[in-house]
């Protein structure tokens, strides 16, 4: 308990009271935390739209849209968003996932009004010029070639996900199927803008060298006049229960095989979700974790192993990624994983081991809170995925509440043969560079 209470003390240093919120008349929620450590600001916009809102034929369009948001609106034309921002000493990025599209701006506080002006412009009046669409299609295809087609981990993950989900939109990749990237139309983009980019479908988070009063003044001036409209229709399709193990194989030129094993687990708001997070820590965080010890250290089976489930709006998967050692049959790494999962189901985890996992998760959580960017990211994440930014300050209590019996119950509930999908990348003989042994049996 000693260690644990000290961690709680840390959380108390950055109390929730320093965060202020407001909701604009058009429905956009604003979350602000003042921090004057450095003269910089992190301003994040979380749109509740992602690949789960797509359908066959337009897969990848959420991500493509994210790119188009930098290609010109009404007041600030093509290239101007980046040019003006960099000239003012800021930079940006954006990311698209299954659930959310997030726009991340980092800049000196002197650029605050400019950023409000430019963000308001593109939320209200994105141009979607055909010439820019054509060029950006090439960019996104290059991104796909880099992150999937020429990346063994990327391609295996894509195939795994498509096999694990047969009905729910998590089936298709965020980057989109190649044929869709080549085919979506101007009209598809216009329709998508109309459903996704409603101010009432967005949460703004501002952390850094600002005052609440100034942020609200600018938000009222630049963002509030943007009219609200209907948010994306609800995602109706639910993934049906998996009825038996699914196995897929990807053959590809490679030096070493690669393995990913996924289990369906619940959405972030489900109370079991935090237990799954602790389970993944017990299994694969740090060199004292069970899978590292068993597969990387004690037996020379794997170069690396980790198991993670992200916080998701809908039921998702926990994926174990295993890089087998040279010459190791992936059947052996697979068996080692199942042995360890069985051990969690049959034997209650010792108290000290559970405490260790909680300590690890808390210090990781606090570590992400060290920067203004980290806090903007967490505040938005908890607000949009869990429905309450306060979770950032109270998650330590959720960790604390998890018992050894919870761990055992959750392991039994989800780590079953019928609930798993096994994907293995096998080096293609023509280019694998290995002679006969291992990997392909």
């Amino acid at each position: 308990m000693r260690c644990f209470s000290a961690l709680l003390f840390f959380a108390a240093l950055i109390p929730a009271q320093t965060v202020q919120t407001a909701t604009l008349a058009n429905g956009m929620k604003v979350i602000i935390q003042e921090d004057h450590n450095i003269p910089n600001v992190a301003m994040y916009f979380f749109y509740k739209i992602g690949s789960r809102n797509e359908r066959p034929g337009i897969t990848g369009i959420s991500h493509f849209f994210e790119h188009m948001m930098f290609n010109g609106a009404k007041k600030y034309g093509p290239k101007q968003f980046d040019n003006e921002m960099e000239k003012a000493g800021g930079n940006n990025n954006a990311s698209t996932g299954e659930d959310l599209t997030t726009y991340t701006d980092w800049f000196p506080s002197s650029a605050l009004e400019l950023m409000f002006d430019m963000e308001g412009d593109r939320i209200r009046d994105l141009a979607l010029e055909p010439k820019m669409v054509a060029s950006e299609r090439g960019v996104v295809y290059s991104e796909r070639r880099t992150s999937v087609d020429n990346n063994n981990g990327g391609i295996l993950r894509e195939q795994l996900q498509a096999a694990a989900f047969i009905a729910h939109p998590y089936h298709w990749p965020v980057i989109g199927w190649p044929s869709d990237i080549e085919a979506w139309t101007q009209q598809d983009l216009k329709d998508y803008f109309a459903i996704g980019y409603a101010p009432n479908n967005c949460t703004m988070v501002v952390v850094g060298d600002v005052t609440v009063a100034r942020v609200m003044e600018l938000a009222k001036k630049y963002i509030e006049p943007i009219p609200r409209h209907d948010p994306p229709p609800p995602v109706r399709t639910k993934e049906p229960e998996q009825l038996g193990e699914r196995r897929i194989v990807v053959k590809k030129a490679a030096q070493l095989p690669l393995q990913m094993i996924a289990y369906h687990v619940p959405e972030a708001k489900n109370p079991d979700s935090i237990v799954v997070d602790l389970l993944s820590t017990v299994l694969s965080t740090g060199q004292s974790s069970r899978l590292y010890k068993r597969m990387v250290d004690e037996e020379p089976l794997a170069l690396s192993v980790n198991g993670r489930a992200g916080d998701a709006l809908d039921p998702t998967i926990m994926t174990f990624t295993i890089q087998p050692r040279n010459g190791v049959d992936p059947a052996r790494t697979e068996k080692a994983l199942y042995d360890e999962l069985e051990r969690l189901k049959t034997t209650e985890i010792p108290a000290r081991e559970l405490k260790k996992a909680k300590n690890q998760m808390l210090t990781q959580h606090y570590s992400r809170m060290k920067t203004i960017a980290g806090r903007a990211s967490l505040l938005g994440h908890y607000e949009v995925i869990f429905g309450d930014y306060n979770k950032m300050f109270t998650i330590d209590k959720d960790f604390e509440a998890v018992t050894a019996a919870d761990i055992q119950r959750v392991a039994k509930k989800y780590f079953s043969e019928n609930n798993r999908t096994v994907a293995t990348l096998i080096p293609d003989g023509s280019a694998g560079g290995r002679r006969g042994r291992g990997g392909n049996q």
Binding site: A6, L7, F10, L13, I14, T18, D35, H36, N37, I38, P39, N40, K79, N83, E86, K87, A88, G89, N91, N92, W106, F107, P108, S135, R137, G138, V139, Y141, S142, E143, T146, N150, K252, A253, Q255, L256, L258, T285, G286, Q287, S288, S289, K293, V296, D297, L303, R325, N326, R352, K355, K356, N359, L362, T363, Y366, K370, T371, I372, A431, G433
Partner: protein, 465 residues
Amino acid sequence: MRTLVVFMAAAALCIGQAKLPQYSKETLPNGVVIAMMPRAGVPLVHFRVLIKGGVESDPGEMAGLGSVTSGLLRRGTTKRSAEQFAEELDFLGGTFGAGGGGRGGGGGGLESATAISSEFLSKDFDAGLDLLSDAILHPAFTETEVRKELARRVDAAKATKDNAQASIGSYFRAAFFGPAHPYGHPPDEMTYGKIGRKDIVDYHAKFYCGKNMLIVVTGDFDINAAKAKLAQVFGAAPAGSAFAWGKAPALARRGQMLLIDKPDATQTYFEIAQPGIDNKNPDRTTLEVINTLFGGRFTSMLNDALRVNSGLTYGASAQLEQNRLPGAIVISTYTKTDSTVQAIDMALDVLKRLNEKGITAEQLASAKAYVKGLYPTRRLETMDQLAALVGEIELYGLGRDEVDGYFSRIDAITLDQANATIKKYYKTDDLTFVILGAADKIRDQVKKYDPRAKEVSIRAAGWVN
């Protein structure tokens, strides 16, 4: 939060200038230098220990020796097994990272030192220091752990080649710096094969000694108590002698091309390089600003041409390496196989335009604002960033003006000076090309950059045989 705000506002910046918070420095009788920057607030303490040498101290035929040694520090000591060490560290929620220098070496871009970084809750200062010092001063290097570490590294070197983007960096270093240069031999299956336990033990005895060690501590801790504890623990290390920096050896012959064949690639990755500067070069601030415009941000000339205007790639950039020995200015990007030559020619054209036309006053002003605007979040925001900064300043003898005078140096750059610096460094001839892709589909076309190009298969062991 209030505590945090009040303290930090005083520390990080005054109006319009970056400012390095104060830190104290002392040298123990055995030569260990300890730099301490206490900052009340977030109750964490960060340790960064630097061992001079890095890749410069690796014997060429045993490239990776320094990195393997640091990787083994936590794998068992005279009083803890590897498992006990991991168990204690993880129970505290602490971190421990060690690496030799170099791209992908885990040394945080340092070529000239091994960096060991560790972070703990402040209240675990003693327990954390005990773990850290035990690993650094008393590693056991058991035969079993040595064998396991080396075998893992050989497999990891192979696995790297399954990621074209990750592996081109090593090919580049081998091709650009060449075998005579300490930066020019990234470790591979063969060099790991030559390392034995005795080499590691000897390396540790020679370099992990007082006169060769620098310790930086930042975060929330009591400076007097910390000083006494650090002196007690690290004062016990043998004094030894400091690593003697060598002169910069000649680079590999310039104007060459290396083609790496990856038959299944649908995309070609390439790097185009020429000699740059070391980290004390008086032109470095001007070059940082110029390189930002050339290839260091989204609106840079390279990214604008290859990504924004033409859609040839997801990203094009240029790096200005700054290490103890002069490094490279490197253009890097990738494109689909059939636009390989179009993309290379376009990158060369951007370089030629920079060389011939220089930059405008407006561009210079924009880049100055950009570099200054982001500097606080890149280098001054967290205690680990500050520890890295203090480490560099002390390791290379740069002085605190490296930070405190940085904005003034940027402000002072004139357009004439910038354009003269461009002419001096951004040349268009004698470039080194490293190209990785499906050779059968691009070989004939890329020969125009160097008819005598060397070609290797990605399946061949090592980087450049």
